[in-house]
């Protein structure tokens, strides 16, 4: 007979319940704006408190940004990096998803290739990049390939977990109703893998960008990684942050204009959690 929150709330008296049909206090846009403002404030305060050359305040970074933006240099390097990131992302997601789904659905294949996967997961980026440059020359193809090879095992692992949890009931339904392979993939398999795909692509694009920085550091003559390394040698943290934030801004734009609407659309069928 221990008192219990829910019981208390309903026991006491005839409780009046209003029909509250989802009216959030702030609009989504406002929340995002608030969030960014909070982040900026936090950074500014930290910069003032730390008062160190290593954590410049927002104005210093803005200045560094304008310096390189005015010459168009920043946009050039950003574009080069984005080109590499996008190419490697498409490659890695496509190849990794296929391998991951196959391994997740086929125990025998998985047992055989699992050690290979672990090997490729754990080869340092440096090794892959250097080997790629040495074998295929210091060119874009080698750079993009090296980034993709670094990312593919991660995609495989995530998609494999997803494929392992595929609903057998729906698969059976599809086979009884003779769905073609394409129809099964599109309407039965992929929707179930959506959360895994989302996880793989979100963490993927950030990992790819980080590897792109190393690739550019080791053997490219442009791109954000090239610039960041240059400024690191000069220990110009403001400039490093300016380039970093420029990339983050691009990612945020993609997130809000592309990813979130797409996700909202592809998960609209999901019953919403009460009160959210």
């Amino acid at each position: 007979m221990a008192p219990d929150h829910r019981a208390d709330a309903t026991d006491t008296a005839l409780l009046q319940r209003p029909a509250a049909l989802g009216r959030p206090v702030f609009g989504p846009r406002l929340v995002t704006a608030l969030s960014l403002a909070g982040l900026l404030a936090l950074w500014w305060i930290a910069a003032i408190v730390a008062d160190s050359r290593v954590l410049p305040a927002p104005p210093a970074v803005a200045e560094a940004f304008w310096r390189d933006a005015a010459t168009g240099e920043l946009f050039f390097h950003l574009a080069m990096t984005l080109m590499r990131v996008i190419a490697a992302f498409v490659l890695a997601m496509a190849i990794g998803s296929v391998i991951g789904i196959v391994l997740g659905m086929n125990r025998e294949a998985n047992r055989f290739f699992d050690p290979w996967l672990i090997l490729f997961l754990n080869i340092p980026a440096l090794v892959v990049i250097v080997l790629a440059y040495i074998w295929f020359g210091l060119n874009e193809a080698a750079a993009i390939g090296a980034i993709a090879v670094n990312k593919i095992p991660n995609v495989v692992v995530t998609m494999r977990e997803g494929a392992r949890t595929l609903d057998r009931d729906l698969e059976e339904m599809a086979s009884v109703y003779r769905f073609s392979a394409g129809r099964t993939l599109r309407h039965v398999v992929l929707p179930q893998l959506q959360p895994y795909f989302a996880a793989a692509s979100r963490t993927g694009i950030s990992l790819i960008w980080k590897i792109a920085l190393v690739v550019e550091l080791l053997g490219r003559s442009n791109g954000v990684g090239f610039q960041i390394n240059l400024y690191f040698q000069l220990f110009d943290v403001a400039a490093i942050l300016a380039y970093t934030l420029a990339f983050v801004a691009v990612m945020l734009t993609i997130e809000f204009l592309l990813v979130q609407p797409f996700e909202a659309h592809s998960t609209r069928w999901r019953p919403r959690r009460a009160g959210s």
């Binding site: 040495i134 210091l138 053997g219 003559s221 390394n229 240059l230 220990f235």
Partner: protein, 307 residues
């Protein structure tokens, strides 16, 4: 030993500084000069810079340009010359490139990036002597030094500007020096080889530990004398140097000896200022930061000026 001062030096594990300090400790030259030198090895150049700023080491090896630039933004690092060895632009032994003027439509690897001092000087020299813009008329590849060295060996690059011990190794492998950073500087107006890299430490450390700095610099001088004259001392360094073969070993030794600064600090400082103005002109604010002249105090003043 209790009253001896200690100094922590951040070094590159496979770098030349490591060789020198190893020889110093082997010969007991540091304790003889009243200082305990503690070696803190790192795997990368950037790591030593981070370590100095994080206060985890008292001294590292870096260049005066870096010191001057940081001083201009408020840091108090200072500089004592360590070596005049700098990078060189190398071409394969059988290359038909004879001078900077022949570098046109070639692929050139540049270690250290577009703001590397030697690269700037060599570009300026090419513009002055041969009237060509190296960066514009060639295919420039910036990249990691070991990777570029390997690419040069593979023949993918027609020329490579690399740091001195990579250059020395390439030389031992049959490459020849087209022009070195020192040559370029001298042809552009310095009166002698300028020590580009040196011991870097904080002014406040020097103030608090004058005996440590004094002892260390004395021990450094003694070690250089030893290494300049004794081949036996080099034999002991063999395992550290990881030279592939005898030719590489002797080239490395030879180039090291050539790099020992021999000029008076005053001459050094004067040439450095010339060089700085030159670099400020070529590299612009991007390279040197807001200051257009060498920041005062970049060269360490131990109070016994000119000794």
């Amino acid at each position: 030993a209790e009253d001896r001062a200690t100094i922590r030096v951040g070094i590159l594990k496979f770098g030349t500084v490591n060789w020198e300090l190893d020889a110093m400790k082997r010969a007991g030259l540091d304790t003889a000069a009243g200082v305990d030198v503690e070696l803190v090895p790192f795997a990368g150049e950037d790591a030593t810079a981070v370590a100095l700023q994080a206060g985890s080491v008292d001294m590292i090896v870096s260049d005066w340009l870096w010191v001057s630039r940081l001083r201009a933004t408020g840091a108090d690092y200072t500089f004592v010359p360590y070596s005049t060895s700098v990078g060189s632009l190398m071409v394969p032994g059988d290359s038909d490139v004879r001078g900077l003027g022949d570098l046109k439509d070639r692929s050139i690897g540049v270690a250290g990036g577009p703001l590397d001092k030697n690269w700037l000087l060599i570009q300026a020299l090419a513009r002055k002597d041969a009237g060509i813009d190296l960066a514009a008329e060639n295919d420039i590849v910036y990249g990691a030094p070991p990777l570029l060295a390997e690419k040069a060996r593979q023949g993918e690059l027609d020329a490579v500007l690399n740091f001195w011990h990579y250059a020395a190794r390439l030389e031992a492998a049959g490459f020849r020096t087209l022009v070195s950073g020192t040559d370029a500087a001298m042809q552009l107006g310095t009166s002698g080889p300028v020590a580009a890299i040196g011991w870097v430490f904080g002014d406040d450390f020097a103030e608090r530990n004058p005996k440590a700095i004094e002892g260390f610099l004395a021990a450094d001088k003694a070690t250089k004398e030893l290494l300049a004259t004794s081949d036996a001392a080099w034999e002991e360094l063999r395992p550290l140097m990881k030279a592939e073969d005898e030719a590489t070993f002797t080239t490395l030794r030879q180039r090291y000896r050539e790099g020992i600064p021999s000029r008076s600090p005053a001459d050094e400082a004067k040439d450095t200022e010339t060089l700085y103005e030159l670099l400020a002109k070529i590299g612009g604010e991007r390279l040197v930061g807001p200051a257009t002249t060498l920041s005062p105090g970049t060269y360490f003043d131990d109070g016994k000026n000119g000794s």
